[in-house]
């Protein structure tokens, strides 16, 4: 993988793997930051992400195991690389641009696959990665390829993909994207959603890799 990286970008210096041999539980957040998220939604989203960090930090095992990465759209931007939460300093997200869901998913899946390769190289175990899409609109790019990648990935048990729709999201598209039933966020209950996410990640990351586990019920944030 390194041969595609410019010399200036080569990893240098022992990374987190040097000191933390725990198995990793990667969680990729694909976050809609299009113009329609402006105002209260983006504020609540930012707060929700901080809640996620704080909740995971207070669980000593989750703090060493859960790694969060963020891709925002649009335009698609790799905001933050996989980090255990003590090194995860989420930037304040700003809403602007369109909704290139397809490109964001494609990038997200690629980054998750690369992360798994890195875990293998560094000899740490890992849990099934989670990819979580949060959007309030409809894709403004072609998303057919992304939907196929999700179907293939789910079928081959490479990751679990969750689609969360905020008020105004196109649920028809979300249903075609996601193998799992997309969930609708109640109002702007981002905080509750991220509390649920941290709770579920803690549950997952406290089990042995490979063990089957059930998610917490999405109470308090989803309109079922």
């Amino acid at each position: 993988m390194d041969e595609y990286i410019a010399f200036e970008q080569l990893p240098f210096g022992a990374d987190d793997f040097a000191d933390n041999p725990e198995s990793r539980c990667p969680c990729m957040l694909l976050l809609d930051t299009s113009g329609s998220m402006g105002g209260e939604p983006i504020r609540q989203l930012n707060e929700g992400i901080n809640t996620l960090k704080m909740e995971l930090e207070i669980d000593p095992l989750a703090a060493k195991r859960v790694e969060v990465a963020m891709v925002t759209f649009g335009p698609v931007s790799y905001e933050s690389d996989f980090q255990t939460v003590d090194n995860f300093y989420p930037k304040q997200l700003v809403a602007s641009g369109d909704t290139p869901v397809g490109a964001a998913i494609t990038l997200g899946i690629d980054l998750v696959n690369k992360r798994k390769e890195l875990y293998k190289q560094r000899g740490v175990g890992y849990y099934k990665p989670w990819i979580i899409l949060i959007t309030d609109g409809a894709p403004t790019d072609a998303w057919g390829h992304a939907a196929q990648l999700i179907k293939d990935g789910e079928r081959e048990n490479r990751f679990a993909f969750f689609a969360i729709g905020v008020e105004g999201a196109n649920f028809d598209v979300l249903r075609q994207l996601s193998v799992r039933q997309p969930l609708k966020l109640r109002g702007l209950a981002f905080r509750e959603f991220f509390l649920w996410l941290s709770g579920s990640l803690k549950t997952v990351s406290s089990k042995n890799p490979g063990e089957q586990n059930k998610l917490l019920p999405p109470t308090g944030w989803a309109d079922l």
Binding site: F7, E8, L10, P11, F12, G13, A14, D15, D19
Partner: protein, 253 residues
């Protein structure tokens, strides 16, 4: 086959707080030999925190060591144990002279020494005090030449100036051209060595050498030197040590 080297000494956070400068010194030099081949010479030294002339002592030890090694290599004779002992004595004499010139007790010039001289045929190593020299054993695994010398307590060690007979000088010459070495002072001991298993903490070096192996130009080496200084003064390191730290890395291509 020549050598690619990088190396930095960075002031520890406790020294910054106390208004002290960096009392470590270290450098690598690559020498052209008469037969067209190359030799690598690296020395590092940690000036004792309690010594008044710690900075001067470590700098003098490193430069005296380089002088001696350069003369030795120009001489073209094969490296032996007795050369390494003579090197230690040469540094001892230099520090002793400096103490006399300052009319200071010689222990005000206390400093450790780590060094290697690697020619295409032989690899010589020497060490007094703590810190460590590690080498690639040829299979990509890093091993220490000696475990750091500490007395009973973590903050005590041996210094060149302690004893004219250099009782604590460790030295050896092996008939093997080593391909990769790293030298580091005790500021990095907690990160680079595993004190439970008494072994090199492999990931520490696995994160550093690949980039150095990839370097293809002086510009690349200068980028890595900058990044090494940033890394050594960054949070990842400073959260584990407040001491000065020197790290020298060399790889043969």
């Amino acid at each position: 086959m020549t050598w690619k080297t990088i190396g930095q000494s960075v002031t520890g956070t406790s020294h910054l707080q106390n208004g002290k400068g960096c009392e470590d010194a270290g450098s690598c030099r690559v020498h052209n030999l008469a037969n067209g081949e190359y030799a690598l010479v690296c020395f590092a030294s940690d000036g004792a925190g309690s010594a008044a002339f710690a900075t001067e002592a470590s700098a003098a030890a490193v430069s005296a060591a380089h002088e001696f090694a350069e003369a030795l290599l120009q001489d073209g004779r094969e490296l032996t144990d007795s050369h390494l002992i003579a090197l230690g004595e040469y540094i001892y004499d230099r520090l002793n002279e400096m103490a006399a010139a300052e009319e200071a007790p010689k222990n005000e010039f206390s400093c450790t020494l780590l060094g290697c001289i690697i020619t295409p045929q032989k690899s010589g190593f020497l060490q007094i005090g703590d810190g460590a020299i590690i080498r690639n054993d040829g299979s990509g695994h890093f091993t220490q030449i000696w475990w750091p010398y500490n007395g009973e307590y973590q903050n005590s060690t041996a210094f060149i100036i302690d004893d004219p007979s250099l009782a604590h000088l460790q030295y050896k010459v092996i008939d093997e051209p080593v391909t990769e070495v790293a030298l580091f002072t005790d500021g990095l001991q907690q990160l680079a060595l595993n004190h439970v298993s008494m072994a090199v903490h492999q990931p520490f070096f696995a994160g550093l050498f690949p980039a150095l192996r990839r370097a293809e130009s002086e510009e690349h080496l200068s980028i890595l030197n900058t990044r090494l200084a940033e890394y050594l003064s960054g949070n990842a390191i400073n959260s584990r040590t407040d001491d000065d730290k020197t790290l020298l890395l060399a790889t043969r291509e």
